[in-house]
């Protein structure tokens, strides 16, 4: 069963970023969306969520309604100057469930605290947001997404600016939540290691090379495919049962420049 599907979809802000694409988020799957900086990953995600109007093709909702989405934005996009406690932020996740005109009840507060406990930061519920570390802040955003009782958990670059150990811990947490709540997951990232070992399906995206490919993770995490995506030599090796991916020398003329080019084209 698909939760949401793009069929021959043309995505972009004014002009198409990619050739027409087909992409489905299946129930229970973890879809990793991989691509270098400025590849069009955010545009793809917005199109999938229905936030960006398609320039062509269609977005299909096989259940007859959009999936309930728990969304974890990039951490650096949130303003920490707001006088909010951790619980205030997690309670925001209940907004859609509550509907308009209703205030959060004790049950909503209870569910929000449960989400925080599950993420391992139950003791931070009454702390002000600004007093949190980066990793704690990221966990609060995941707790808010879980408090929304989602069918689909969407994480936009959740491990950027994290050290490898913290990245691993966070991905294991997402994996645990996926099984505990029977979730489908979409993980958008430019970090290869975040996808290897966690994603069941992988989409490779690069608007500059006009690349869009999607398939089972084992098939997509192929040195040749990844090499084409990044314009560099890529090695995929098995280390003690875990997949490690390394990127080497540039193979395409624009490889070094692409590695440094940051930022998506937005509007």
């Amino acid at each position: 069963m698909d939760l949401v599907r793009l069929e021959r979809a043309v995505i972009g802000y004014r002009t198409p970023l990619l050739p027409p694409i087909d992409l489905a988020v299946r129930a229970g799957a973890t879809l990793g969306v991989l691509g270098p900086n400025g590849a069009g990953k955010t545009a793809l995600l917005k199109s999938l969520l229905g936030l960006l109007r398609l320039l062509g093709g269609r977005r299909v909702l096989p259940q007859g309604r959009g999936p309930r989405v728990g969304y974890v934005p990039q951490r650096d996009r949130l303003d920490q100057s707001w006088p909010l406690t951790v619980l205030d932020v997690v309670l925001m996740g209940r907004t859609r469930l509550l509907g308009p005109l209703r205030r959060p009840t004790d049950e909503d507060r209870g569910r929000s605290r449960e989400a925080l406990e599950e993420i391992g930061i139950g003791d931070l519920a009454d702390r002000p947001l600004y007093a949190l570390s980066g990793g704690q802040h990221q966990r609060v955003l995941i707790a808010r997404a879980i408090a929304a009782e989602p069918e689909l958990l969407v994480l936009d670059e959740p491990t950027s600016a994290m050290d490898p150990a913290a990245e691993r811990v966070l991905l294991e947490l997402v994996e645990r939540l996926k099984h505990a709540h029977d979730l489908s997951v979409v993980l958008v990232t430019h970090q290869l290691t975040a996808v290897a070992g966690f994603a069941t399906e992988v989409a490779l995206v690069d608007r500059l090379r006009g690349v869009f490919e999607v398939g089972p993770a084992k098939q997509m995490l192929d040195p040749k495919k990844l090499g084409r995506l990044y314009g560099r030599e890529v090695r995929v090796v098995d280390v003690g049962g875990q997949t490690a991916i390394t990127i080497g020398a540039a193979t395409a003329p624009d490889g070094p420049e692409r590695a440094l080019a940051g930022g998506e084209e937005k509007r």
Binding site: L49, Y71, P73, W82, P83, L84, M92, T95, R96, L101
Partner: protein, 291 residues
């Protein structure tokens, strides 16, 4: 006779303007928490100025038809400066909600352009030969004087205040979510544009009415200073709002009293008193070594 006795003896004169100041202070300092946190403080100055264009425009149109808008009974409803003021402010509120902007023009730049254009239009209209002789009176209507406030304006302030509070009470969680994290709110099905529009329209209407009651300077100050002062010393949104409203009310009341006993301009006195509430927050920052 002590200063306070003198002040008390004149209560017939100050009851209404003081009430208008306190109402404006309370309302604006409440909305100001959202205005400051959304980093759109200049919007209040622009809305105030743009609602002024509405008033000036009403006078100009009336002068074309040979009508004196001061003679309220003889003015057709459609030429009432109040309606023009509200219309212009609401249109600006809608435009600002659409987050107009360009790769090189941030929304703040658009707000700034609105402010500058509105200021120029007010000056141009007030100095046009058709209404130049009424410019002073029009100025009072445009920007208030906080000394004499008609009861109708107090009633209008009360009405928009009640409307604003009811809307905020009903949709507080949506307004908070949509203001704090619009991207996630949108993904989770909250109508961000709708709530942004509601917030901006409420702000536009309150600013439009309050500007005529107490003047442009105190309106801008009440929208920024109490919220900023409260934010520096509180860490919970509800406490921030409560403290901001208390500061707004106290600044309006004490500012009015000071202006009476020291014979100072009322709006300026309110602003100076409000500014004193920034001191505890600044001292706190100094103690923490973050200044």
């Amino acid at each position: 006779m002590s200063a306070f006795s003198d002040f008390w003896a004149g209560r017939e004169l100050w009851q209404e303007p003081l009430l208008a100041g306190v109402l404006a202070g309370a309302l604006l300092s409440y909305l100001g928490v959202f205005v400051v946190l959304k980093r759109m403080v200049f919007v209040s100055a622009a809305l105030s100025e743009i609602s002024g264009v509405g008033v000036a425009f009403a006078f100009y149109v009336a002068s074309i038809f040979g009508i004196d808008p001061h003679q309220h009974r003889g003015v057709p409803v459609l030429l009432e400066p109040t309606w023009f003021s509200l219309l212009f402010a609401c249109l600006a509120g809608v435009v600002f909600s659409l987050r107009p902007g360009h790769r090189k023009l941030a929304p703040e730049t658009i707000v700034g352009i609105g402010y500058i254009a509105a200021s120029a239009l007010v000056l141009a209209i007030l100095n046009s030969p058709r209404i130049a002789q009424e410019a002073h009176a029009v100025g009072d209507i445009l920007f208030g004087n906080a000394v004499t406030v008609p009861r109708s304006l107090i009633a209008a302030l009360l009405a928009v205040g009640v409307a604003a509070l009811v809307i905020h009470a009903l949709f507080f969680k949506e307004l908070l979510f949509a203001s704090y994290d619009p991207e996630t709110a949108l993904v989770q099905g909250v109508g961000v544009l709708r709530y942004e529009l509601v917030l901006n329209l409420i702000t536009a209407v309150v600013i439009s009415v309050a500007t005529r009651a107490v003047g442009a300077l105190p309106v801008f100050a009440f929208t920024v200073i109490p919220a900023a002062a409260a934010l520096m010393v509180t860490e919970q949104i509800r406490r921030t709002i409560a403290l901001s409203v208390v500061i707004g009310i106290v600044a309006a009341a004490v500012g009015y009293y000071v202006s009476w006993v020291k014979t100072l301009p009322t709006g300026a006195s309110m602003v100076i008193v409000a500014s004193l509430f920034l001191v505890p927050g600044l001292l706190r920052l100094l103690r923490r070594g973050t200044v």
